[in-house]
Every structure is written in C-alpha cells, then in structure tokens.
C-alpha cells in the first residue's frame, strides 16, 4: 500500500492518505501523522465542548488548537448552541428516518 502526505504551498500538512497522490511517505510516518491528527482533533473537540482548557493542550499545539476551536465557534456557534434543531433531535431519539 502506498502512503502519502499532502502539503499546501506553505508546506503545511493538509492531509494524509493511502493510494495515489501527494508525497509518498512510509507506513510508519503515516501512522505517526495519523496519531497526531486524531489527537489534535480530540483536543479541538474537548476544548470546544469545555471539557478541557487551553492549558491542558501541549504548548506547541496551543496556537493551532485554539485557532481551530475559534473557527469552529465562528461557523457553528458555541457548544451550547445546538447544531440541529430540536425537531431533528427528537426525530433521531425516536428512531426516525436518518
């Protein structure tokens, strides 16, 4: 299997993947990057939901994590604001059509 990393014009990592495209990397490098991506995503969610504070984020990641949370708030509102309507939520809870 071919593993790759994709960077933008500023050499910032945009995505990783398998198959065609990007810059080929080793499986070990891919797994390392994947772990970091998932870990950062988890921190974004926790910070967004208020489960943690920015001080709980590794120093070297704080700027990025805070930026991503700020952008998420700008697009979706705070975690207290429902992303779906109460009607949608009720429909889900009652096992309605997904």
């Amino acid at each position: 299997m071919r593993y790759y990393a994709q960077y933008n014009e500023n050499n910032v990592l945009i995505a990783i993947g398998t198959g065609y495209g990007g810059t080929e990397i080793t499986e070990a490098e891919y797994n390392t990057l994947l772990s970091e991506i998932l870990e950062k995503a988890a921190l974004v969610n926790k910070l967004y939901s208020g489960e943690i504070t920015i001080d709980d984020v590794p120093t070297e990641w704080q700027e990025e994590i805070q930026r991503r949370v700020d952008e998420r708030i700008a697009e979706q509102g705070t975690a207290e604001d429902p992303e779906i309507s109460s009607e949608e939520a009720l429909n889900i809870i009652l096992g309605g059509e997904a």
Binding site: Q6, G17, G21, L38, A41, N45, R68, E87
Partner: protein
C-alpha cells in the same frame, strides 16, 4: 635430369614452404579488422583465409538499427515520455478504470481537500464515506457513523464539474425538480468538484465537509475505460 623431375622437385619444395607458412602462428599472418552490425541471430566472426583478426568493431545499437531489425520498434508502441535507445515513446494510457484510497484531513480549517485520483479523466462515479463506524474523537451524543455524500451536478466552472452536495447524516433526502434537499434542516450547501486529475471536496469544519470528521475517509472513483 629431366624437366619433369625438376618441376616435381620444385613443387615439392614449394609445398613444403606453403606448409611451413600455414603452420606459422597467427601473429605472423597479416592482421585484419572486421566491422560487425548486431543482428537478431548469433554471429561468428572469423578472419579471411590467410589473415588473422587484429580487431573486431561492433556497431552501436541505435534506434535506427532497432527499427530496421523490428518493425514494432516505433514511438507509438512505447509508453509516453519513456526513452528506449533514444526513441521517446508517445503511447498514452487509456483514461479510465478505477482508483481508490483513503484520506484524512489534517486541519479542519482548510477550505478544501484535493484528492488526486489519477484516472486521467473526470470520474463517472465517486463515493466517499467515513472509514470508521465509530468516530471516537467526537463527544457529541449523536452518532454520525458511516456517512455518504449525495451530490447533483450543477455546473462546469474553470474545467471543474461542480456538484451541490448534501452530507447525509440525520436528514431525510428527497429529489425534487432536479434539487436534492432535506426534509429537515438546511438544504444544499457547498460544492464538490471533479476534474480529470482530482476530486475537490469542501473541508470546512461544518456538517458538509470532511473537516468535521478527521478520521480516515474511504473514497473510490470510477471512470468507464475509453477504447
């Protein structure tokens, strides 16, 4: 002494001299250079009678020589841009087939993700879904699980075909007068675009993009193979 006897004696002497000459080592014979052109069959290079080989010159293998030896040695039979013995190929692979892979966005704030499919033509069909059933990084109570993007062609812009897409996770979808809409919540949002090299996917950290789900996504693109 008769003349015949003398002639016979001379012949005997000459024959003896000839035998001695022929018995001489090779180096003693006059040298000769031969030029050989490679061929499709094995060749044995031997000196002419009475001579020895001082050198054998073998002609270089050139594209002209190969073309003379095999009528199939033409540019159209060599993959494009591949150089064989100085002949650069012009054969292009037929666009089509299928490609698949996974992609995991690194940053949910990147506006779009470009998936290179490498098919050489705009795919006839694509599908993208979350690779994992459980997005354990998310704390939301609503399980998004596997997700599909439904899309409808809208327009062509700058060489890309653009599609209005809906991320199916909670809403019922309906198709009405050429539009995909949701019976609950908002309707069409964000474009995905296809080109002959890549799939452009909106990645914003919203319900309609990759960015909300950094876990790996599976993708497949299919293009009917052209003749």
């Amino acid at each position: 002494m008769s003349y015949n006897t003398d002639l016979q004696s001379n012949n005997t002497d000459l024959q003896s001299i000839l035998d001695l000459i022929q018995a001489l080592p090779e180096g003693a014979k006059p040298g000769q250079t031969k030029i050989v052109t490679p061929s499709l069959s094995e060749q044995t290079i031997a000196p002419d009678s009475g001579k020895s080989l001082s050198s054998v010159q073998v002609s270089a293998i050139t594209k002209e020589l190969l073309a003379n030896l095999d009528s199939d040695f033409i540019a159209d039979n060599i993959a494009k841009d591949i150089d064989l013995f100085g002949l650069v190929g012009t054969l292009e692979a037929s666009a089509g087939g299928f490609a698949y892979g996974t992609i995991t966005p690194a940053d949910t704030t990147v506006a779009q993700i470009e998936i290179e499919h490498g098919l050489g033509a705009i795919p006839d069909f694509i599908a993208i879904c979350a690779a994992n059933d459980k997005n354990s990084v998310y704390t939301r109570s609503t399980p998004y699980g596997q997700s599909f993007i439904y899309a409808k062609y809208v327009s062509t812009n700058n060489g890309y075909r653009r599609y209005a897409a809906k991320h199916q996770y909670t809403s019922s979808l309906k198709y009405d007068e050429g539009n995909i809409s949701s019976t609950i919540g908002s309707g069409l949002a964000y474009y995905l675009a296809l080109s002959d090299t890549s799939i452009i996917w909106p990645n914003r950290n919203t319900s309609y993009g990759f960015g909300k789900y950094p876990a790996p996504f599976l993708w497949i693109a299919i293009k009917e193979i052209s003749a």
